[in-house]
């Protein structure tokens, strides 16, 4: 019937092809029919028997999660046996009765349990975990009534154990059940619903290494679902251990020092950037989450006004206050705007454009040069130097020393902080920069914001010859120290562009802060070795108050944040700390004594 578009030759060829195609189609269908005949009729009885005895089940064997150690090999996070209650939906006779019984016996919430059972309805022979980490009493009760609870299975699985409770919670992180989005994301290819994965901190950052490889066994079960024999088994590959750079004892000291307060402490090895301690307060005991997250506890923690889940060391953004004078001093020297011999008279205030900027010491400091201005933290001196420099030059040095950008710590998420410039303000507020703002910027107020870990990095670089290291919290990852997969060498981000002589001038002044009469950081002084540091008192409310402590009687949430950054020993720097205590008042009286405790713990042990 090809009328117009086929010539006779084509028609003949086409028809031949159709015939051949028909033969091919028939041949392939016959192959399928033969295959089905073979499976269903010839081997049918064999497969029928197999299906009737199909009591083969796959059981997961979860791998043992790797341990987390401190720098000296002390165990921080390990595993201990956890008795978990599972239900095999298929073997349950009366589901609502079972859930009622479980509610009566072990206070299981029947609603959420029913939800969990329905969620895994597609695979009724796969055990569903309803209760993790049962107490001994619960275990005894369930074992006693187990005969009346068909479908209930108790499994002993490794459960996470945070040896020191809330120690370094923000760094270590915690485990939680994998969410549906995480399962779908394809980032956890080895995971199944119900698995516990790292939700924050080291547990999340090193999830893949810690988790290991899932194993499994194929077992045969009887009519009741009891195991008869193992048919084949694939052993799980246990997870790698992660050794951190933190020092357990120093961490403990830091947390105790912050107990009952809000704030953060970061201690770094100034010669490598290794994190020796990283504390944020208030803290949380991650053992609370091991048995699955209890909703009431979780709500209480997540909704607390103290934000215990926030890692203040990395994401707490505070004005650097007087600590920032270090940067203004370095910038001034390097830019030739400050002569260290030049002295300025501080009457206790400074006038600019009809506005009065007070010095924290109302009666004034008299004649001060750079050294005295840093030692006694004279505001008026730095108002003038800041004005000479201008905000953009100050900003350049602030960035050079690591402010305004996350430091790049390998664990957790950081905030950038904020280093204001003229163009930033114009862009953000549509208003030009005011000179008065330069004045307050030069004592670390106005818009300037920094995180504690940035402060620790900054003070480290002043004392290690101007090197900015990337802070690292991981020492090695692997089976053991001798058999490790990764080891982490110090990583230099940059060398700051500041003359050594200028660094020396500032270092000398910072030694003076702690060791000279009238120095603001004298409460961190030691006899055996030299400490250097700088105090800061960050304003929470608009008014600059008397730093000598007259703000004792104002409400706590209006009190200033106390800063102290310090390094010891100056001759051979081993530890650099940045301490912030929210609403702690004066840096010299609140934060400096904490530094002393930390140095004591780290440098004077044994």
């Amino acid at each position: 019937m090809k009328i117009s578009n086929f010539d006779p030759v084509s028609v003949r060829i086409f028809n031949t092809r159709i015939r051949n195609a028909t033969l091919l189609v028939l041949a392939l269908f016959i192959v399928l029919v033969i295959r089905l005949w073979f499976l269903q009729v010839v081997s049918g009885p064999v497969y029928r028997a197999k299906s009737e005895h199909n009591r083969l089940r796959l059981h997961d064997i979860p791998p043992v999660r790797g341990m987390i150690l401190d720098r000296n090999g002390n165990l921080l996070v390990g595993n201990r046996p956890s008795f978990d209650l599972f239900v095999i939906p298929e073997d349950v006779r009366d589901r609502s009765k079972l859930l009622q019984d479980l509610q009566r016996l072990v206070c299981l919430d029947p609603q959420s349990a029913a939800q969990r059972l329905s969620a895994s309805a597609t695979v009724p022979f796969r055990p569903v975990c309803l209760l993790k980490d049962m107490s001994r009493d619960m275990l005894a009760i369930v074992e006693m009534y187990k005969f009346n609870l068909p479908g209930v299975v108790i499994k002993v699985e490794p459960g996470r154990h945070y040896v020191y409770g809330d120690l370094a919670f923000h760094l270590l992180g915690y485990l939680g059940e994998i969410s549906e989005e995480q399962l779908d994301s394809g980032q956890y290819p080895d995971s199944k619903p119900g698995d516990m994965i790292g939700k924050s901190g080291v547990e999340a950052s090193w999830q893949t290494s810690l988790s290991g490889l899932r194993g499994g066994e194929q077992i045969e079960v009887d009519a009741e679902g009891r195991k008869i024999r193992t048919i084949s088994i694939r052993l799980p590959g246990s997870g790698s251990n992660v050794c951190l750079t933190i020092d357990k004892d120093l961490q403990l000291t830091a947390q105790n020092a912050l107990a009952g307060k809000k704030g953060a402490i970061v201690a770094l090895d100034p010669t490598s950037g290794q994190v020796l301690a990283l504390a944020s307060s208030p803290t949380v005991d991650p053992n609370l989450f091991v048995g699955g997250t209890n909703k009431t506890i979780w709500k209480e923690i997540a909704q607390s006004n103290d934000f215990p889940l926030q890692n203040r060391a990395l994401t707490g953004q505070y004005p650097p206050a007087s600590v920032f004078k270090i940067i203004v001093a370095l910038a001034g020297l390097e830019e030739g705007r400050i002569d260290s011999r030049e002295a300025i008279f501080c009457p206790g205030y400074y006038f600019l454009g009809g506005h009065r900027f007070g010095c924290w010491r109302k009666q004034g400091h008299g004649r001060v040069d750079l050294h005295r201005a840093l030692v006694q933290s004279c505001d008026v001196y730095f108002y003038q130097m800041g004005k000479r420099l201008g905000v953009d030059r100050i900003a350049r040095y602030a960035r050079m020393l690591g402010f305004g950008k996350e430091t790049g710590l390998d664990i957790g998420h950081e905030k950038d902080g904020l280093v204001p410039t003229r163009s930033w303000k114009l862009k953000k507020y549509g208003v030009p920069w005011q000179e008065g703002e330069t004045i307050s910027t030069s004592i670390g107020q106005s818009f300037m914001l920094v995180t504690p870990i940035q402060m620790a990095t900054m003070i480290s670089s002043v004392f290690n010859g101007g090197i900015i290291y990337r802070p690292q919290a991981t020492k090695w990852v692997g089976k053991s120290e001798a058999n490790k997969d990764h080891e982490f060498a110090p990583e230099v981000i940059r060398k700051v562009d500041i003359t050594q002589a200028h660094l020396e001038i500032v270092k000398k002044a910072l030694i003076g802060v702690v060791n000279e009469g009238g120095g603001t950081g004298s409460k961190s002084r030691f006899v055996n070795f030299t400490v250097a540091g700088k105090t800061g008192t960050a304003q929470v409310v608009g008014l600059k108050k008397d730093e000598s402590g007259s703000n004792k009687y104002i409400p706590v949430h209006y009190k200033d944040h106390a800063w102290f950054v310090a390094v010891a020993p100056v001759e051979d720097p081993k530890i650099a700390v940045a301490i912030v205590v929210e609403h702690g008042g004066h840096g010299g009286s609140t934060a400096a004594p904490i530094a002393k405790e930390l140095f004591q713990a780290y440098l004077m042990r044994e």
Binding site: N5, S10, V33, L39, S43, G44, Y47, N54, S118, I231
Partner: protein, 375 residues
């Protein structure tokens, strides 16, 4: 629009085959998802009914115009569908590690299903319009091979190996029906065949595992081998008469993976036995042979090649799926056409069946002015 002659030439056999297959599919899905439904799962078979209603509507729409008109839309349709594939790679929804879906609020579509038709359309145009005395040499084939290769590559990137292979096989089948210069085809084919072992190195680990499992099913009875073993037990245990509707134990106990999609045939084979499986296969055989018959009766080369392409899409999907669930081929994740659950698949295939009906209805009609240019 439809005149009386067209209604007289309405292809009742094709329609009957499609209705039978739709009915069997829905009944089978009712059983396959019985367990999930009992435990409060979703009403998959009801959704399939809706998809089929939509599918038959599209089917009817596809018969209302003369398929000639498609000649001018072939390239726009083709490039639009390729654009959708690129969109999938950019903003597609990721499920279990592969990106195959475009999300439109409550529904998501799988563009690769529609790409299959557009490739067939564009190839039918390419060869249908060509000089009919011409023997195609290897240089002539570069353009059509590019037309096939572009979407195939994009689908491989998703990654979806099964659909890539299926699409390539279906498209290449069209070439068999044009006048090829066999020597020059051999020049093209020999190096490709020689290179094909290299594909091994491109495959993902799970894909390699499936092939190794196929070669040695007992290698990993816990992992990749588990599904195919359970599928064979399901099919084999159906024996001659089957275990009866809703009485398949493998199905009930959910031993089968993906039993509403890729392994839907295993459910049928378990419950309806050899007899039921053969009836379904015979229906498919009729559909394919009837389609070839339509191709043969079509009044021009474009229609013939379009029909052949549509048939080969369905045919390769039937053969690979049944071979896969019976353990004759590695598990590559191809659903059974018109039978497995899947909205995009049903709508796309019903659209192509509508075109087949269109060609069949107009088999007696003369070229009505919009015809192919005479060369």
């Amino acid at each position: 629009m439809l005149d009386r002659r067209l209604i007289e030439n309405w292809d009742w056999i094709l329609l009957l085959l499609l209705l039978l297959l739709a009915a069997i599919s829905i009944v089978n899905l009712y059983s396959a998802t019985y367990q999930i439904r009992n435990m409060g799962g979703s009403q998959i078979f009801v959704k399939q009914i809706y998809w089929y209603l939509l599918g038959f509507s599209v089917f009817l729409i596809m018969t209302t115009f003369n398929y000639y008109k498609l000649l001018q839309f072939a390239y726009p349709v083709y490039f639009a569908s390729v654009a959708l594939l690129i969109l999938v790679l950019l903003i597609g929804k990721t499920t279990s590690g592969s990106q195959r879906w475009l999300d439109f609020g409550p529904i998501s579509i799988q563009p690769s299903e529609f790409v299959k038709i557009s490739i067939v359309l564009v190839l039918a145009k390419f060869f249908g319009e060509g000089d009919r005395y011409h023997e195609y040499g290897w240089l002539d084939l570069l353009a059509p091979l590019f037309l096939i290769g572009l979407p195939a590559f994009l689908i491989l990137k998703q990654p979806d190996l099964g659909t890539t292979l299926h699409l390539t096989a279906a498209a290449l089948s069209i070439l068999i029906f044009v006048r090829l210069n066999w020597k020059s085809v051999a020049i093209l084919a020999v190096p490709v065949i020689c290179m094909s072992p290299l594909v091994w190195f491109v495959l993902k680990d799970y894909q390699k595992a499936r092939i190794l499992i196929f070669l040695n099913p007992d290698m990993d009875p816990l992992g990749a081998g588990y599904h195919i073993n359970q599928s064979k037990i399901a099919i084999g245990s159906g024996q001659f008469w089957g275990k009866g509707f809703l009485h398949g134990t493998q199905t009930r106990l959910q031993f089968l993976p993906e039993q509403h999609t890729d392994f839907a045939f295993s459910v049928l084979a378990e419950e309806w036995g050899f007899l039921g499986s053969i009836i379904l296969l015979v229906l498919y055989l009729f559909l394919v042979l009837w389609g070839l018959n339509i191709a043969k009766a079509a009044k021009n080369r474009f229609g013939s090649l379009l029909a052949v392409g549509i048939v080969s899409i369905a045919f390769w999907q039937i053969v690979t799926n049944v071979a896969m669930v019976t353990g004759l081929l590695p598990v590559v994740g191809i659903p059974l056409v018109l039978f497995s659950y899947g909205g995009s698949s049903i709508v796309a295939i019903m659209a192509s069946m509508g075109l087949l009906m269109n060609i069949s209805m107009r088999r007696f009609m003369f070229s009505d002015g919009a015809g192919l240019p005479e060369k």
